[in-house]
């Protein structure tokens, strides 16, 4: 009888797959420590501000008011409009960045001379802060929205171009020879050989580009537009609502982290290299 009870207990335990749960918890252990450390430093900072009479006007930057403001923004639904605007700009900017960057990268990677010719001018352009194009963008585009998207494209094309070109250069020349030998046409070579071969590199470039775009977007939204997370920060500053400002900063960080994680998952999905 007692033996039977033991068996049923152990099978019930295995149903909950304790090893899986333990593994998940142990995977989260270090990130949790990191987050706790960050929150602790933030809390200390808040205390220091609060106790300094010159800075006490900014005490709403502390974690408690910030999380309260975040809760209000989420429950009232106010936060979704700026998030949607910002993500929309990122999406359009990334789409253009990919649409321009991948073909240009494939071309300069495939034609060795083109890479040599393009290298210096592209590296030069890459090092110019996208925000430096702002006055030109404002003159060139009718709407602030398209000007911001232009800035995002200027930020995203370079990592995508370089990463794609690098991927094409790395393709095993025998892969081309075998495919030609099997009668591949130009478009077939592109679709079946080149694109899958460079997919990991393209995704790595996209991941870099998303990071840059997200960083550039917020200051770009300080200018002209009346929507987006950058605008929300500016707006909070103007109305002295520092708790909301801190909450928006939190949201920016969380979404940025989320975008990067999605890119990372896609890289893993498209990676064909054996670990």
């Amino acid at each position: 009888m007692s033996a039977g009870t033991t068996t049923s207990t152990s099978s019930a335990v295995s149903l909950f797959a304790p090893t899986k749960l333990v593994r998940l918890l142990s995977n989260l252990q270090y990130p949790a420590m990191g987050i706790t450390g960050l929150l602790f430093l933030w809390w200390i900072g808040g205390l220091l501000i609060q106790n300094n009479e010159n800075l006490s006007a900014f005490s709403a930057f502390a974690p408690a008011p910030a999380f309260q403001a975040l809760y209000d923004l989420v429950t009232s639904g106010e936060i979704w409009a700026p998030i949607t605007s910002s993500l929309y700009r990122i999406l359009v900017g990334m789409t253009w960045g990919i649409a321009i960057g991948v073909p240009v990268g494939v071309t300069i990677g495939y034609i060795g001379v083109a890479l040599k010719v393009a290298n210096v001018p592209f590296q030069f352009l890459r090092m110019i802060s996208p925000l430096a194009w702002m006055p030109i963008a404002v003159m060139a585009f009718e709407t602030w929205d398209s000007a911001i998207i232009f800035l995002l494209v200027m930020a995203t094309v370079w990592p995508i171009i370089f990463s794609t070109a690098h991927g094409v250069r790395r393709i095993d020349p025998n892969w081309f020879k075998v495919a030609r030998n099997l009668g591949a046409s130009g478009p077939q070579m592109l679709r079946r050989i080149i694109l899958p071969a460079i997919m990991t590199d393209v995704m790595a470039g996209i991941r870099l580009a998303v990071g840059v775009a997200w960083v550039v977007l917020v200051p770009a939204e300080y200018l002209g537009v009346t929507s987006g997370l950058g605008y929300a920060i500016n707006d909070a500053r103007d109305t002295l609502s520092y708790d909301y400002l801190a909450a928006v900063v939190l949201v920016i960080g969380i979404i940025g982290y989320g975008l990067d994680s999605v890119c990372n998952l896609l890289i893993k999905r498209f990676n064909w290299h054996v670990e």
């Binding site: 009668g183 079946r192 071969a197 064909w272 054996v274």
Partner: protein, 267 residues
């Protein structure tokens, strides 16, 4: 069905100022025939094979397959290389089916068509695995399936077994001629392994170097499958060895060896 292949007065230079790599090569290979091309490394045998595949165009003369001059590669005259060069983002069956997909078949149709081929080559339990997990011999079998899938008239082999272990090599040296004989495929193999030439070919062409020419020819009239220990095998081997030594242009050839090697690897 096998095709005939004729090499008409082919001379080749990699650049106008360079010494010719190949000079006045003129020979004919009959449909279904199995020919080995042997010579020292750098004699241009691999260059000649690339020309037969349409991957390289000779500076003078031409290559004809069934009397038609070839100017580009085709899955009907298919080459297998020393490296299997499989595509790691495709499974075994997708790799084997690639030539059929290039010919316009859908992935599903192409994969279905290569199924019996993979069974025949002993890959029945590997069809869905990642090619990176296969051994060298299995990878070369996938490459063989890929080459056979498009029903080639001519199979060109560029030292395809030289990187394999002895057991796998011997097995494939027996299997490939058997498959080609069964399907009537014309087979041309480039090798520097005299045993391999005797094991696989009806006729062996010996090339000299600087410039590369066909200088000797030996019929190998042995029954199939060929056994390395048979008396006949050993006799042909000896004879081939002697003829090969007779063509060796000695010190002069060896001195220019490095230069030709470089020009060939530039191909």
């Amino acid at each position: 069905m096998g095709a005939s292949l004729s090499i008409d007065y082919v001379t080749h230079q990699f650049s106008p100022s360079a010494a010719p790599t190949l000079k006045d090569i003129d020979t004919r290979i009959e449909p279904g025939e199995m020919v080995a091309l042997i010579g020292r490394s750098g004699c241009g045998k691999s260059t000649l094979l690339h020309m037969m595949a349409g991957l390289l165009i000779p500076s003078q003369g031409c290559i004809r397959i069934n009397s038609r001059q070839i100017s580009k590669p085709s899955a009907k005259w298919n080459m297998m290389f020393q490296k299997a060069s499989l595509y790691p983002w495709m499974s075994v069956k997708e790799n084997a089916a690639l030539g059929l997909m290039f010919a316009g078949l859908s992935k599903a149709e192409a994969v279905e068509k290569v199924d019996p081929l993979l069974d025949m080559l002993g890959l029945h339990d590997k069809k869905d695995v990642n090619v990176q997990s296969l051994s060298g011999g299995q990878q070369q079998r996938v490459a063989l399936a890929r080459s056979l899938a498009t029903d080639p008239d001519i199979l060109l082999l560029d030292e395809p077994f030289s990187a394999l272990d002895a057991f796998t090599r011997t097995a494939l040296q027996e299997e490939v001629p058997a498959i080609c004989r069964e399907r009537g495929i014309t087979m041309i193999i480039v090798t520097h392994d005299i045993d391999e030439a005797v094991a696989m070919a009806d006729r062996v062409l010996i090339m000299s170097q600087n410039p590369g020419r066909i200088v000797e020819e030996l019929e190998v009239d042995l029954p199939w499958p060929r056994r390395h220990m048979d008396n006949g095998f050993q006799t042909r081997r000896e004879e081939l060895m002697n003829r090969f030594k007779g063509t060796d242009n000695g010190l002069q050839g060896r001195q220019q060896h490095t230069a030709t090697d470089q020009s060939e690897s530039a191909a």
